[in-house]
Each structure stands twice: as C-alpha cells, then as structure tokens.
Symmetry: C2
Subunit: 116 residues, 2 copies
DNA sequence: ATAAATAGTAACGGAGCCGAAACGAAGAAT
DNA sequence: ATTCTTCGTTTCGGCTCCGTTACTATTTAT
C-alpha cells in the first residue's frame, strides 16, 4: 500500500516543516547543500566530489564549496582515498546523522498532524 | 486516519524531491523564499511585510528583498493597501499558483513511489 | 620516461542575501 | 498643528555562493 499524500497535503506539510526550519533554524542549508547531505546519508557509499557533481548536475567547484560549508558545520567529513589518492571520499558524522534524524522525525510529526 | 510517514521514508521523499528541484531547477528558491511563497498561498490573506516578518521570525528588510526576488519571478505581486496606505498587500499570481501546483504534484508522485 | 587524462582545489570577478541603521510616507494621538 | 508611532524601503559594509578558468597532484597510456 503506497503512501497516499495529496498535493494540497504535500504543500501544507512542506510549509510546516519549512516554517520550523526557518524560524528556529540553527543551520540554514541551501537546497543544494541539503541535497548533498541527503545523498551522502541515504545513498550507498563511496561518495566522491565527481560523483556528487554528476548526480546533482552541478559543477565540481560547487560541490567543493558546499563540502567546505558542510564540513565546517561538522555534518560531513572528507578524506583522501588511499587506493586512488586523486579521489576524496566524503563520509558521515555523528552530528550529520543526528541532524537528519531530527529532520526525519519533524516531518513525521508534521505529517501525522495533517488534516485529512 | 492520519498520514503515516516514517522518518526514513520522510528523508527519502525529501531527497527525491530535492534532487528533482536541484537537477532541473528553473528557479532556485532559498528556504526562506519558499516559506514566504507557501505562507502567502496557503494561509488566509491579507499578507503584509510585517506579518510575514513576525511569522517567519526574520527582519523586515529580509522580507522586502525576498519579495523583490519572488516578484521578479512573477510568483507574487505587491500592491498598496488603499485602506491604510502604509501597508503593502502581497498577492498571488497565476504563475505562482502553477508553480506550487506542480510542486505539490511532484511530491505526491514521489510519495506514491516510496518503498514501504 | 614522457605524455595525456583524471580528481579535486584555488583564484577571480560578479551576483545575491544578510542584519543594522537611517529614511520617507502615512496614520494616530495630543 | 505638532508630535509620535507604524510601515515598508533603502543604504551600508560584510559575507556567502555562483560559474569559469587555471592549477597541482596523481594515475594511466604509450
């Protein structure tokens, strides 16, 4: 049985979640940064700069800069690939996992409170 | 019967929607701009700069600038309140309604395709 | 060994957004 | 009529992000 979420409900859900993030936002991630974060945490590793660039259809420098930001926020880590030292492997952190955990819970709670 | 969307599913849904928006994004709205747009279209009018500022917990200039951007994108309009000419009333547009319509449909489709 | 390809980053100029403060216009209070 | 308040905008310096281009380091091909 698939999730049945009508368009009006979807927008309302998005609205409530966005309101929480904007109002009490500790972090203020752009759509691009959020997408990178979700990709790293939800899709199977390994993740590289090049891989993310093609997956998101943006340039490599854009990924590098986003990784700088997300790295400063401790949401992600970078380390050299020892097998092929040209590559950089993007890894997960406790803080990043916690952040997404809270975000997922927020959405769940808001979805539960949605009018029929 | 409330919508039952587990945290993991919520993050996956957010991921897929974000991917679409980032990859083929005509517009690239910030979280704040998106929240303003949703507030104007989902909450009952009238909407003013001051009202949005307090609702989103941001400064008035931030709202003014976001309205500039959203206005240039034709997603929103501004007009003077003739009753109290200090106020500016923020209104909806066909383009804005269409944009949110498509967004709602996108979320619905992605939700339907979510694994159980 | 040398050349070519690949991965990631730095440098550059430009554009957009930020909060704080100042501003002008409109209304309310006295 | 003159102050006082409210509303939205503008201005200011600062910060972040953007895409393009150029660069270094590493690996592969010849």
């Amino acid at each position: 049985m698939p999730i049945d979420l009508r368009p009006g409900q979807a927008l309302r859900l998005l609205h409530e979640v966005n309101l929480c993030l904007v109002r009490d936002g500790d972090f203020d991630l752009s759509a691009r940064q959020m997408t990178i974060l979700l990709t790293v945490y939800l899709e199977p590793p390994p993740h590289t700069v090049r891989g993310l660039a093609t997956r998101l259809n943006v340039t490599k420098p854009a990924i590098t800069r986003a990784l700088d930001t997300l790295g400063n926020m401790k949401l992600l880590t970078r380390k050299r690939d020892e097998a092929d030292r040209r590559n950089v492997i993007i890894g997960r952190t406790v803080e990043g996992a916690l952040y997404l955990d809270q975000l997922g819970n927020l959405i769940t709670v808001k979805a539960r409170g949605l009018p029929r």
